[in-house]
């Protein structure tokens, strides 16, 4: 039998039982790799369940710095008999299956092309611990230790992580280290170690951090000065508002009075959550909510009101697998059309498309500026993979000289100045010719600037009108504002200074990791060089249309069934749909470079 070999290029998958404390042990493993200076990415593949069902955690270690999911498991750590059959089947030929050999494996579970490494995890625990909960928790540390020995992870690094993990409960440090060392010792006594597939210290992560996108978005909202959040729990967005609450409650607390410079209200549903955002934004606060697809469906009516009445709002859609309730704990990019055109009538919304946690932080802060500048909802489109998984990413940065752009808001002085030159305030007057009118915040002036916000057809002075021409004028001005949005939203990122191919690739969001790796695979292994563009916002900047025009074929890579991003391109731009070729993945798992490479190479081979 051949053994897999290689340094710093492997996938380790943990098969656990939900609710057994494995998450923190698995995380220690992943952070050990990171602290040895080796790029890694971690994916939590979890059930919609609190306790008992199978759950997996997958760590990809990549010397080359590839941070997308990779197909094939090199080392599988099996701590869950329920899923053992499929787990054994998932190991690459020549790979390793680490399991609990307290009891013998049934012969049906034996493959002759993989290596079996038995660690008597339960046996060791039964011998060392009396308390059932301890037996379960320390079992996790035993496999961490065994893996450390097998993969040549520096034990001092693991010990350091254990010390950090239990910094607030120092009594737990020593027992956890001991349990970990039991695993190390068993491997040392019984196997030749390390394996041929292993890790080795590098200096490749620089000042990077490992953080999930929801935490980064929550921090972005704190830094952007959001003071009101209305929200309703839904996977996978819940932890975003929880992160916002954690940091806002910490850094906006007056220690003397116990009062907080934030108001977070758990709403009765997503409709109310968005209603709260609109009420607060209308009243001059920065407000936001976060949800997932089902929540956006419910918010449609309010999104239409916000668009038409021109009320700033920030909404994060952490997309999950649809349609309907779908796969709540799996990832997709399948809410694009829903979000872009949410609500009845001619309605469209600004979308921001972050691809890393760092960008989540930055675009979240930008979203508030853009929403207030454009006086319209801005929807930050992340997904479960970005939101809930830890990603290696550049450290978060804030420029202390940055001022919030509160947009066009008249002060009492402005209103008096208008009167002085014989002008009247019109809430929906296009004063500057950019389609963006001036607004007033309630209570600005005793006798000037009040207006009636409404979702009914209105004229420039916010008065109800059934004059069709007037209504069309408003709709046209909103289109002018849409054109302004194209200029002030983030520009796409191009990966070449000048085009080198007649074939291009477009991607966005978490597809970026796999797409960039696929470009390397195509170039290095197939000799195919492609031009690449990453979209960061909707509506599309003119350079998007130019990129498509400059290529005979453009692959559009995305994670949904209906090629929704491609539809947006066709719908909004003057492009030939035949040029746009779909590359899709919608199985709920993050798309892989290999899948992209296969599909693109396949299409190019048939031309």
């Amino acid at each position: 039998m051949r053994n897999l070999t290689g340094i710093n290029d492997l996938v380790v998958r943990f098969a656990n039982v939900n609710g057994t404390g494995s998450a923190s042990a698995n995380n220690m493993f992943a952070m050990s790799i990171f602290r040895m200076g080796i790029p890694m990415t971690a994916k939590n593949i979890f059930p919609s369940n609190i306790q008992g069902l199978p759950t997996w955690y997958e760590v990809r270690v990549s010397e080359k710095g590839y941070l997308g999911r990779r197909e094939g498991v090199d080392v599988l750590v099996c701590v869950n008999p329920q899923s053992m059959k499929q787990d054994i089947a998932s190991v690459k030929s020549g790979g390793y299956f680490v399991y609990d050999n307290t009891k013998n494996l049934h012969k049906d579970f034996i493959r002759d092309d993989i290596n079996y490494i038995g660690i008597p995890m339960i046996g060791i625990c039964m011998r060392l611990y009396q308390d059932p909960r301890q037996r379960q928790l320390f079992k996790n540390m035993i496999y961490v230790g065994a893996l450390a020995a097998l993969l040549d992870i520096e034990l001092e690094v693991v010990k350091g992580i254990i010390a950090d993990e239990f910094a607030k409960k120092p009594k737990l440090i020593e027992p956890n280290v001991q349990a970990m060392m039991e695993g190390v010792k068993y491997v040392q006594d019984n196997y030749s170690y390390p394996l041929h597939v292993r890790v080795e210290r590098r200096d490749l992560v620089g000042d990077s951090i490992v953080i999930d996108g929801n935490t980064a978005c929550g921090l972005g909202a704190v830094y952007a000065g959001a003071t009101v959040a209305g929200w309703y729990p839904i996977t996978p967005s819940t932890s975003l508002v929880e992160a916002f609450a954690k940091y806002a409650n910490k850094y906006r607390l007056d220690p003397e009075t116990g009062l907080k410079k934030v108001a977070i209200v758990q709403a009765e549903d997503e409709l109310a959550a968005f209603g709260m955002v609109l009420g607060a934004s209308w009243n001059g606060a920065r407000a936001f909510t976060a949800t997932s697809g089902p929540g956006v469906s419910l918010m449609n009516e309010f999104l239409g009101l916000a668009y038409f009445a021109e009320i700033p709002a920030v909404l994060v859609d952490v997309q999950r697998g649809g349609p309907s309730t779908g796969m709540p704990t799996r990832t997709q990019q399948s809410d694009l059309l829903l979000a872009a055109y949410a609500s009845h009538g001619d309605t469209k919304h600004v979308l921001l498309l972050p691809s890393t946690p760092t960008e989540c932080f930055n675009l979240m802060a930008d979203a508030f500026d853009l929403a207030e500048r454009l006086q319209t909802p801005v929807i930050v489109m992340t997904d479960l993979d970005l939101g809930m998984n830890d990603h290696l990413t550049a450290p978060l940065k804030w420029d202390d000289s940055r001022r919030y752009d509160r947009g066009k808001v008249y002060t009492a002085q402005d209103l008096d100045d208008l009167t002085a030159v014989g002008k009247q305030f019109g809430r929906y007057l296009d004063v500057d010719g950019d389609g963006i009118p001036y607004r007033t915040i309630p209570a600005t002036h005793p006798t000037k600037g009040s207006f009636f916000t409404r979702g009914t057809s209105h004229d420039e002075y916010a008065r109800y009108t059934e004059d069709g021409v007037k209504n069309a004028e408003v709709l046209n001005r909103l289109l002018k504002k849409w054109d302004t949005a194209k200029e002030i939203t983030p520009k796409p990122e191009f990966y070449q200074t000048e085009n080198k191919s007649n074939v291009g690739v477009i991607f966005f969001g978490t597809t970026t990791y796999a797409a960039l790796e696929a470009m390397d695979l195509l170039r290095e292994e197939e000799g195919i060089t492609l031009d690449a563009m990453r979209a960061t916002a909707f509506p599309f900047h003119s350079s998007v249309e130019e990129f498509i025009a400059a290529h005979d074929q453009v692959f559009v890579i995305e994670q949904n069934r209906d090629a929704q991003f491609r539809t947006l391109l066709i719908n909004e731009l003057e492009v030939n749909p035949k040029k746009l070729i779909k590359i899709l993945n919608y199985d709920g798992m993050p798309i892989t470079a290999e899948a992209i490479r296969r599909q693109i190479a396949g299409v190019l081979a048939t031309v």
Binding site: V210, L219, G225, G230, Y247, K260, K261, G275, M276, W398
Partner: protein
């Protein structure tokens, strides 16, 4: 033109001319709001007026022209009011809704605004029917009430004050659009109350629900009305100079020092007794009475801002230096993720 103590004339509290039907109860309620705000010398721009959708929800356009208004979507005014209130705790929030807007499509939001004790006045202009869509029964229509077309409502009507009491509302009142002497002081008391104040106002629909057999017609309401007490409102700045016979009056002092003065009380009536209010409402229903007046008040209630411990300043007034932790803190946060 007479002016109030802050120099505003009554006209300064009016809105544009109503487009509702002549004789609509809602216009009387708008008039009562104007009068209450004028007499209380509220600065009009310190009021935010919000509504949902329907005939009633149009009315914020017909009063307080110098206030910002927000005509939101059907049944969703409470959430918009919640957000607005969170952004600036210093304004007065006046929500206007109807029986369709509140008791059907907006029931969820109504209930939760009560539950959170949001500091606002919530007026339901209750006519038992959907006026804008030409007279369908609403969820507050009484069982057995006859519509204009002659059909009899087979469903139990929802009693909003009864439900609000059950939910823990801290100010619950019912009134009648045709009884300004009761409605105006109730509005004043509600505006001074810190917390959620509900006034369910019987407001007959002259066009679709004012026929014989309807239990929301002018004639029916007048014939069946039963007031718990005569109500007076004494603003904080004025002293109570008239003395009343004890035993038949109750004075309730509100958080801002104003006093709600109730006289000719129904026997054994204390507006601070929630259970008594619930019993009295049930009894009135059995008797076929429409019970009006201040049903219940908790003068010491804690509003949502107090519960969640938000800053005493309006959140919408806070700037970068109040809100942004800055780059040095961010560097420390980064360290937690290495």
């Amino acid at each position: 033109m007479p002016k109030n103590t802050i120099g505003y004339a009554k006209a300064d509290y009016e809105g544009v001319i109503s487009t509702l039907c002549a004789g609509c109860g809602h216009d009387s309620i708008s008039g009562a709001i104007v009068q209450a705000c004028y007499e209380m010398a509220i600065e009009p721009h310190r009021v935010a007026k919000l509504s949902g959708i329907g005939c009633s929800s149009k009315t914020p356009n017909y009063f307080l022209n110098n206030s910002h208004g927000f005509n939101s979507v059907h049944g969703r005014m409470p959430s918009v009011a919640t957000g607005a209130n969170m952004a600036n705790r210093d304004l007065i929030y006046l929500g206007v809704s109807g029986d369709g807007d509140t008791a059907s499509i907006g029931m969820g939001q109504f209930v939760h605004a009560i539950r959170r004790n949001l500091n606002m006045l919530y007026i339901v202009m209750n006519n038992g029917c959907y006026g804008l869509t030409k007279g369908q029964d609403s969820a507050t229509a009484d069982q057995g009430s006859v519509s204009k077309s002659g059909s009899v409502n087979p469903f139990e009507g929802i009693d909003l004050p009864g439900m609000a009491l059950e939910l823990g509302a801290t100010f619950v009142a019912r009134s009648f659009s045709g009884d300004k002497t009761q409605l105006v002081p109730l509005i004043k008391a509600a505006l001074s109350h810190k917390g959620f104040a509900l006034i369910d106002v019987m407001s007959p629909c002259v066009t679709f629900n004012n026929n014989a057999g309807s239990t929301k017609s002018y004639d029916y309401v007048r014939d069946h009305i039963e007031a718990l007490a005569e109500i007076g409102f004494v603003p904080e700045k004025e002293e109570i100079t008239v003395s009343y016979e004890t035993g038949t009056t109750v004075d309730v002092e509100l958080h801002d020092g104003s006093v709600v003065h109730l006289q000719k009380l129904a026997d054994g009536w204390d507006p601070r007794d929630r259970q008594a209010a619930m019993r009295r409402l049930q009894a009135a229903k059995t008797e076929g009475e429409i019970l009006t007046g201040l049903l219940y008040i908790d003068p010491n209630s804690k509003d949502l801002h107090e519960v969640i411990k938000s800053d005493s300043r309006p959140l919408n007034s806070l700037k970068e230096e109040d809100l942004c932790p800055g780059s040095a803190i961010l560097d420390l946060i980064n360290e937690d993720f290495r």
